[in-house]
């Protein structure tokens, strides 16, 4: 009973901090005038979304035992596979998030290079200034 309460409480802490991250990173993307700060906020936003996706694939403790990662460590006998299917977490969100992380890294690299050319062109990365310059 206590274990169940603590489990749910810790999960709610994770969820609450994810929501806080979500709101703060969106604020950063919209209201921070500096280009690099926008990119950092975008990275935090994408990581928050990835953690949400992994959270969907999680499952509760069954009979006082924690869920296992989706790796089979025993010989694939029928009992081992049955127990594995009963206790392992969902592998599909993890696979999708893995591709999303690499895409996010590549897009961030592209944005950083774009920021470099922006600086070379305007000699500033403050988007208010760039909006004012119009050139």
């Amino acid at each position: 009973m206590m274990v169940e309460f603590l489990n749910n409480y810790f999960l709610m802490i994770v969820l609450a901090s994810l929501l806080a991250n979500f709101v703060i990173s969106l604020y950063g993307i919209f209201f921070k005038p500096h280009y690099i700060k926008k990119v950092i906020a975008l990275m935090i936003f994408s990581d928050t979304m990835n953690t949400f996706a992994i959270y969907i694939g999680y499952r509760t403790w069954i009979g006082g035992k924690n869920p296992r990662p989706p790796e089979l460590t025993l010989h694939p006998s029928s009992e081992a596979l049955h127990e594995f299917t009963l206790r392992a977490v969902d592998p599909l969100p993890q696979a999708l998030v893995l591709t999303a992380i690499v895409i996010g890294l590549a897009v961030t690299l592209f944005l950083v290079f774009l920021g470099y050319t922006l600086y070379m062109h305007y000699r500033t990365l403050d988007l208010r200034e760039i909006k004012r310059l119009r050139g």
Partner: protein, 265 residues
């Protein structure tokens, strides 16, 4: 006007988050069961009693990544490559300009202790990355994670020595681009390898096939000797490691090389 826009944005954010919470309320606390699809993946990923559905890989994430949903990952690799190429196209001229300026290598970089430690640790980092990638079908890890780990070693060398040190040692952008292309060609060839074998043998086979299927009995072997390689998964992880590692190394080298040309306004 500005205030009004901000208020509207904040209110709409709150409404959207409320909607997301409503949609996600089913999943807020994880349940004991998982979706049927996930159960199938977990049950079939390394199950010799289901010969036409299994991948023979104990690691379900890699099995989904490179077999069940392999085409997704193939196109995702294409997106990664395009982003690297776009970044190169933006910074190419600056890279060549920076190369012409000479720097005294003996005076650049950190102290002798740091340099020695960096010389010792960077091969170990590369070994760890290769191990993560080459055991990707057995343990958590794979080509992406191994490649990203390997790309850390040149980053340390850039900080400790200098970017020109790395370039003098042969880590030029042309050579790295060549290795990225080799990795991508390897991924493409692995994707159609079973199809090509089928053409040679004269049997029907699918593109992106790994294990033998019901209507195409040829396929990649699950083991070589006594070692589990899970068919194409091992080769995909190997080539992906090269592509991701060298792709990131290109970006790091160019970004750090043009660092000296920033001027304060």
């Amino acid at each position: 006007m500005q205030r009004a826009v901000e208020v509207v944005v904040i209110i709409s954010l709150v409404l959207v988050i409320a909607l997301l919470l409503l949609l996600a309320s089913e999943y807020l606390l994880p349940s004991e069961s998982i979706r049927l699809l996930a159960s199938f993946y977990l049950y079939a990923t390394y199950n010799p009693s289901l010969p036409y559905y299994t991948v023979n890989s104990p690691q379900a994430v890699t099995a989904i990544l490179w077999d069940y949903r392999g085409l997704d990952t193939l196109f995702e690799t294409a997106v990664f490559y395009l982003a690297i190429i776009a970044g190169l196209a933006l910074a190419r001229r600056l890279y060549e300009e920076s190369l012409r300026e000479g720097v005294d290598l003996s005076k650049s970089g950190l102290s002798l202790i740091v340099k020695t430690v960096a010389r010792l640790t960077s091969p170990m980092i590369i070994a760890v990355g290769a191990s993560i990638a080459l055991h990707g079908h057995l343990t958590p890890g794979g080509g992406f994670q191994g490649g990203a780990t390997i790309a850390v070693a040149p980053m340390i060398l850039i900080v400790v020595f200098s970017t020109l040190f790395l370039i003098k040692r042969g880590v030029t952008s042309d050579r790295m681009l060549f290795i990225v292309s080799l990795g991508l060609i390897g991924i493409g060839l692995t994707a159609i390898s079973v199809f090509l074998i089928g053409l040679v043998v004269g049997r029907f086979a699918h593109v992106f096939q790994n294990m033998p299927k019901l209507n195409s009995p040829i396929g990649m072997p699950a083991t070589i000797g006594n070692i589990l390689i899970s068919g194409t998964l091992w080769f995909f992880n190997l080539f992906e490691m090269f592509a991701v590692a060298t792709g990131f190394i290109i970006a790091f080298v160019i970004l750090m090389l043009i660092k000296g040309r920033w001027e304060v306004k």
